[in-house]
Amino acid sequence: AAASDLQFALTEAAERFQEETGSEVRLNFGSSGNFRRQIAQGAPFELYLSADEAYVFALHEEGHTHNEGVIYAIGRLVWLQRSHRGDLPDPGNPLEGVKQAVAAHSNGQRERIALANPDHAPYGVAAQQALQSAALWESSAPLRVLGENVSQAAQFALAADARGGLVAYSLALAPALAERSEYVLIPEDWHAPLRQRMVLTRQAGDIAKQFYEWLQQAEAVAILQQYGFSTE
Amino acid sequence: MAKSIMGSGLKVLVKQRGPIPLDASFNCPAGELLALVGPSGSGKTTLLRTIAGLYQPELGQVVCMGNPWLATERRYSLTPQQRKIGMVFQDYALFPHLNALANVQLAMGHLPHAQRQSLAKQWLANVRLEGLEKRFPSELSGGQRQRVALARALAREPQVLLLDEPFSAVDQVTRRRLQRELALLRQQISIPIILVTHDLEEAAALADQICVLHNGVSLQQGSPETLFRRPTSPLVARLLDRHNIFEGEIVSVAGQLRLQWGDYDLEVAEGLTELTLGEKVTWYLPPSDIVLHRRARPSQGERENPVAATVHEMVVLGGITSISLRVSHGDMLRFDIATHAARRNQLAQGEQVYVSLLAEGIHLMSGNHVAMPSRHMPSKYVFD
């Protein structure tokens, strides 16, 4: 069970793992919150890769895991917009698009800014912090569209009626999106670090434990980095 | 009021205040046919539904062949299935999703599967519906539907047959055939048959007994002869579409009791002695007891209660002519004679004629009172 921002990275990692060890792992992507709940109800997930480390701590406290697991990646936030728009902000000023949309809004236009819901999605929280640090949180309020998760935020960001959105770096690098979109990275210090923690559940079998170990090896780390995740 | 056969036949007693006021009792021995007649809305269908177990009156008893079917006072009621009745609904109530044959077969649950189809075909043939077995009700004419309903009721081989105007939608020729079938059936199976009908001729021709209903109240039950010649009240006579209902007074002429009617003092064969001198009575004369005097050739018997009158109206209906005569004091006498007899006697509007009112036919009724539903419930039913 893995957070949806791992969609591409983890798929590739799992393939590599299978090539190497011959063991197959089945991946289940979705909302970290849902997984946390399902594991608490005894879902047959063996390894939980959460986008929000708080869920891992909570599960541990409730006794569904043996330990607090480890941080396997730190996510990055990017500004994502449709390609060929010709107005990609320059890296020094990644939230220029938001500013333009806010300015256009006062002229009656409505170009939407997409982000994941800050109420429960880690990338949403990060996006909120980034906007706050650029003093755009209040003024962008009427333009914000909130995805249920970061994938949906990316879909919003690429919709015709949106200026763009703040989404996971990992998604921006995914081949399926790369050809349709362009992005600029948001500086890491504009938001609290997106620490992603994984943990083995009490039902973890040998292969899960093996995969858990393997994900901490250099080879896996390289794959994760290739998809925009940094590690500690 | 009606002959009682120990433990056999159907006995019905129903009373309630509302929503449909009822106060009726009648019975029908096995093997006989009872016709329920009465104005539209008088509760005939409701009574049939009560017998069938489809309507629960406030108070009621239904006993069939000695077995209780309904006894409200001890909260006892059999289901319609247990009563094993055959019913023709006034609006047929055919199953729209089944063809004619299947509609009939459905009522043959008591027979082995193998026999049903051929027997159902036979029943449809009996009601003259050969060749229409595969038609759905929506593809049949009104009268054809009614006959399917009749076949279905008969196919059940019931303990009691309840027919709610079963011939109302079929033509006269077919109706006669069906009536004949019904008469034959009655000779074969000995069950009570209750027939609701608006056709008084049909009632007279088919029924052993007739029960007259009015506003839910059973006014009189008796043989057709009794009802048509000796109705208990003017209301019954009127409900039976009888005319010749008049007012009179009991007088004494030369020491003999007579019925004074206008200028005439009529001889009466029966009932005069039970009345007191000077009493006003309502009386009725069946049209069969009005005898036209032959022109210029008075014959024997024609001296009885001779009355002079003028022809007010003549309506020729085929072989029969309906005649209305106006008597000098204004009352109107109505009767039918054969058309050729009318011709032979050269009757014409305005002509003066003489008729005899046969003393035997004059029926004295105890007054103008109209039987009303008694609002009083008996503490105990008297049955048998």
Partner: protein, 222 residues
């Protein structure tokens, strides 16, 4: 308590019913009286919006509603505004998603109107339109009510399509269903329960009243 979300929800559900019932009545009546070879497939076609997972249906609608898509472009030239992330957009999406509920019960109701009542109305001098208003409509009323109730309830609970097309904009496209979902996702279970209770209560009252009032049909008991 999120009152704006409730108001958006009620507005959306109300308007969906309002717009969808005429469509349902029209299509349901047409289907009830028509007899042609491919009718079964037509009826099946109508059920299809139900078959796709709501989010996926929403995703396709999101694409179709974009200004660069024919439908969205047409709407933009018509109204000047876009469809995505607007109330109009989620209303349209909700209309599409609820189509099956609107048509099926009404079609069944029309099928049950006896043909001879229609004929009797014509013979009484009623125009087809008067016949429809004064005879057919009262007779199919229970079916319309069923359709409206299912549509209303389903719109209140609809989440995937609305979120996808609407983007959860406060006061415009954020419905109570989305708000409840957000509460659940944020592990604010008490908040979610409170809102759920509110939503259930509002629905129960609305539907209960509608059913209760409409249930008094003396003529049906006979």
């Amino acid at each position: 308590m999120d009152w704006t979300a409730l108001s958006v929800s009620l507005r959306l559900a109300g308007l969906t019913c309002l717009f969808l019932m005429p469509v349902g009545i029209w299509l349901g009546r047409a289907l009830a009286s028509a007899h042609f070879r491919g009718k079964g497939f037509c009826e099946a076609l109508i059920a299809l919006p139900l078959v796709l997972p709501p989010t996926v249906l929403g995703f396709y609608l999101l694409q179709q509603f974009g200004r660069d898509a024919p439908l969205g472009g047409f709407w933009a030239t018509l109204t000047g505004g876009g469809l995505n992330f607007t109330f109009s957009g989620i209303l349209l999406a909700s209309l599409i998603a609820n189509l099956p509920f609107a048509i099926q019960p009404i079609q069944r109701a029309f099928e049950n109107v006896p043909a001879n009542l229609r004929e009797a109305a014509w013979c009484s001098g009623l125009s087809p339109w008067q016949t429809f208003l004064r005879i057919e409509l009262p007779l199919v009323w229970p079916g319309i009510l069923s359709a409206a109730a299912l549509t209303f309830a389903h719109t209140l609970g609809e989440f995937g399509v609305i979120l996808m097309v609407g983007g959860a904009i406060d006061g415009e496209t954020r419905t109570l269903a989305i708000a409840i979902y957000d509460r659940v996702q944020a592990f604010d279970e008490q908040g979610a329960a409170r809102m759920s209770a509110l939503l259930l209560l509002v629905s129960l009252t609305t539907l209960g009243l509608v059913y209760g009032l409409a249930g008094r049909r003396r003529w049906m008991r006979g």
